[in-house]
């Protein structure tokens, strides 16, 4: 994200749907996600008949097209699902944490840290194996986010505004250093221009499994702090009055969102806009209830990612557009339309 607003708007007078309608919406979102998962296996840049897809999954043989389904499309779909869930939830967390409807995990330096670490790996340490980047990216994202957290904290606790400013500063410094490295090392430049696009192609499932335990922990943490985060939305004082332990809530939320965003970035590279837009839309549907926002984000974010990925496969056949490029084109018009609605300031 190039910039973000620090303004903290009130929640406005939104019409909040009742629990039954929220649940119904959740079921609809789930159905949409399942349909997209199926489509993601069916549709690709090569035309493979549905019957072959069916055979590839349930009656496997050594057919070339079946390999394409089992070895490439299926893992890609699973990666899309995992990364999408992580991005959506981390976006919801950071927006709740900073009380800022325009924050995304990038503002805490997640992408900057990951990109910088990968550039160092390529340009200085000479790592040439794209899967070797992953752990650098993950470590970079974690370290930088913790650094931002430390910089943005005072002894009384961390102020969201300071955290965001610190994130922008650290992100800028690392971004500049990364650019310097890239411009002096053509190899690093070449590697990074692809990595920076953000893609879920060709990540074998073996690289995804080690990240899953981290995601599981983060998922539990996120839902555990969703209650206190609700109270936090009303302001620090009111939250404290309601018995919320500010520091603990914030630290747990930051740990969760760092694991999620860092892991997603490590797997797929920096994919913007999903973490920004999905929680936004979720809040617009269910109102200011963190647990519901989280639940919706978990279902809607992978849907957005998969739609973008499927589009990326078919619009430039036989080539593909990396999903990170497509998400912005799918997401931005929706965001602009949303903000132009009448009750725009209630975003």
């Amino acid at each position: 994200m190039t910039a973000l607003a620090l303004r903290q708007d009130g929640q406005g007078t939104e019409t909040v749907p009742g629990p039954r309608r929220r649940l119904l919406g959740l079921v609809v979102a789930l159905v949409v996600l399942v349909v997209l998962l199926v489509l993601s296996v069916m549709i690709g840049s090569t035309a493979i008949a549905p019957s072959v897809v069916w055979d590839a999954l349930f009656r496997s043989s050594a057919d070339i097209d079946q390999f394409a389904i089992r070895d490439f499309r299926l893992p890609r779909t699973i990666v899309g699902l995992v990364v999408g869930v992580a991005l959506g939830l981390s976006g919801a967390l950071i927006q709740a944490l900073t009380r800022n409807p325009l924050a995304d995990p990038g503002v805490l330096g997640v992408h900057a840290g990951a990109s910088f670490a990968v550039t160092v790996a390529v340009g200085v340490l000479g790592v040439r194996d794209a899967q070797g980047y992953m752990w650098f990216a993950f470590a970079g994202a974690l370290i930088v986010t913790l650094l931002v957290l430390a910089l943005g904290s005072t002894r009384q606790g961390s102020s969201p505004v300071f955290m965001v400013l610190a994130g922008v500063c650290v992100g800028a410094v690392l971004g500049g250093a990364r650019e310097a490295l890239q411009l002096t090392s053509p190899d690093a430049f070449d590697a990074m221009r692809y990595w920076n696009a953000g893609s879920i192609v060709g990540r074998p499932l073996e690289v995804v499994w080690p990240v899953l335990p981290f995601f599981a922990v983060a998922l539990i943490l996120a839902f555990a702090v969703s209650g206190p985060l609700n109270a936090l939305a009303l302001g620090d004082e009111l939250a404290v009055a309601q018995g919320v332990r500010l520091v603990r809530t914030r630290v747990l939320a930051v740990i969760a969102l760092t694991l999620l965003a860092g892991g997603a970035t490590a797997i797929a590279g920096p994919i913007g806009f999903v973490g920004l837009m999905v929680p936004h839309v979720a809040r617009w549907i269910v109102g200011p209830h963190q647990r519901w926002i989280f639940a919706y984000s978990v279902l809607l974010a992978p849907s957005l990612l998969l739609v973008s990925d499927i589009l990326g496969r078919i619009v430039m056949r036989p080539g593909e557009i990396p999903v990170g490029v497509v998400t912005a084109f799918v997401g931005a018009p929706v965001l602009v339309a949303l903000v132009r609605r009448k009750k725009a300031s209630g975003l």
């Binding site: 994200m1 620090l6 005072t154 002096t184 430049f189 696009a197 602009v336 132009r340």
Partner: protein, 352 residues
């Protein structure tokens, strides 16, 4: 004029300059800070003129400056180093003012002309010229300006709904910038490595090869734009308190805001045309200036001086301290971001 000088004194030390019937009230701290900054700019400029990988002693530099050298020594000092220094000072100042205008206008410490998509748009324009059209430098400049302006207009129009509200402008700007950033990534991906690196060096903002032509034309534009910026600084101040408050003070909010946006974008556009988008000065210069001068709001003059110093010092580091010469924009980001981070850090500690 004097009717606008408030009667209330907040207890700061104030310097009053009187000349006949005109009195100027200046805060001592601001004056001192501006003076120190100006001295620092001048000192860095001298240093930059004296230093270079082609070894020249101060005597040679001086005689070249006074026109008593010919050949390569003359070229290096007068045709290469001098315009570069002049460009760094002027463009830095322009960026500082442009950032100050936007931050004040949008009441947001992280706003700069990039927020309405100008930077991404101009980069898109430049990329298309370099990678698709394979054009000349003049076409590149044209493409960048066209791209930036078109994007800014598009963002403004998309955000317009019975007037432009700051918050809506920011959101639309983020959306459009994100789209263009993706498009830029895609263009870079599709290009040949040499071309992509050339484009990226432009995209980082570089003063390498800045000539007198660019300095004179760019400088004239900056000078012309700084005047309306100075004149609009009172409405700007009033609007910081809110649109209604400003209107009640007799400010015509909509035209003033449009005028300020135009000035801010035009300043950035001038710099972009001459040197590529030099990042981050417009973002951090006003913030650093505000903290140095300890003023309540964003102020234009210290922001301009901080911008000039930041740009000049960054270019010095980029040329002479980095192992290979780098685009200045790479260093401004590191230097500006690092210093702002340090200021934030100390500010946070002070609040304890």
């Amino acid at each position: 004029m004097s009717t606008h000088i408030p009667r209330v004194d907040f207890g700061r030390r104030v310097l009053v300059l009187r000349h006949r019937r005109i009195a100027v009230r200046l805060q001592w701290r601001s004056v001192v800070v501006c003076a120190v900054l100006a001295v620092a700019v001048a000192g860095t400029a001298v240093l930059a003129l004296m230093t270079g990988s082609y070894a020249l002693d101060p005597g040679q530099v001086l005689s070249a400056l006074t026109g008593r050298e010919t050949g390569i020594v003359h070229d290096i000092v007068v045709e290469w180093r001098l315009p570069r220094v002049a460009a760094a000072v002027m463009f830095g100042a322009a960026l500082g003012v442009s950032g100050a205008v936007f931050q004040s206008l949008l009441r947001n410490p992280l706003a700069d002309p990039g927020i309405i998509g100008f930077s991404q748009g101009s980069y898109t324009g430049a990329l298309i010229v370099i990678l698709v059209v394979n054009g000349t430098y003049a076409q590149l400049v044209g493409g960048a300006l066209l791209g930036g302006m078109a994007t800014a207009v598009a963002v403004y129009v998309l955000a317009y709904r019975r007037g432009v509200q700051g918050f809506r402008l920011i959101v639309v700007g983020i959306g459009v910038s994100a789209m263009l950033a993706s498009l830029n990534t895609w263009l870079i991906l599709k290009a040949d490595l040499d071309q992509a690196m050339s484009a990226a060096a432009w995209g980082a903002g570089s003063l390498n090869g800045v000539s007198w032509d660019q300095v004179v034309i760019g400088g004239a534009c900056v000078a012309v734009l700084l005047l309306p910026a100075g004149m609009l600084s009172r409405p700007l101040r009033q609007m910081e308190l809110g649109d209604d408050a400003a209107a009640s003070h007799g400010v015509r909010v909509s035209p003033a805001r449009l005028g300020l946006i135009l000035v801010g974008v035009a300043l950035t556009a001038t710099v972009t045309a001459a040197s590529g988008p030099i990042a981050f000065i417009s973002l951090v210069a006003p913030q650093i200036a505000r903290r140095l001068a300890r003023t309540a709001g964003i102020t234009l003059a210290p922001a301009a001086l901080v911008g000039a110093l930041l740009c000049l010092a960054s270019d010095y580091l980029a040329q002479h301290v980095a192992p290979t010469p780098l685009p200045v924009g790479v260093i401004t980001v590191v230097l500006g971001g690092g210093y702002l981070g340090y200021l934030l850090f100390t500010e946070a500690r002070r609040r304890l």
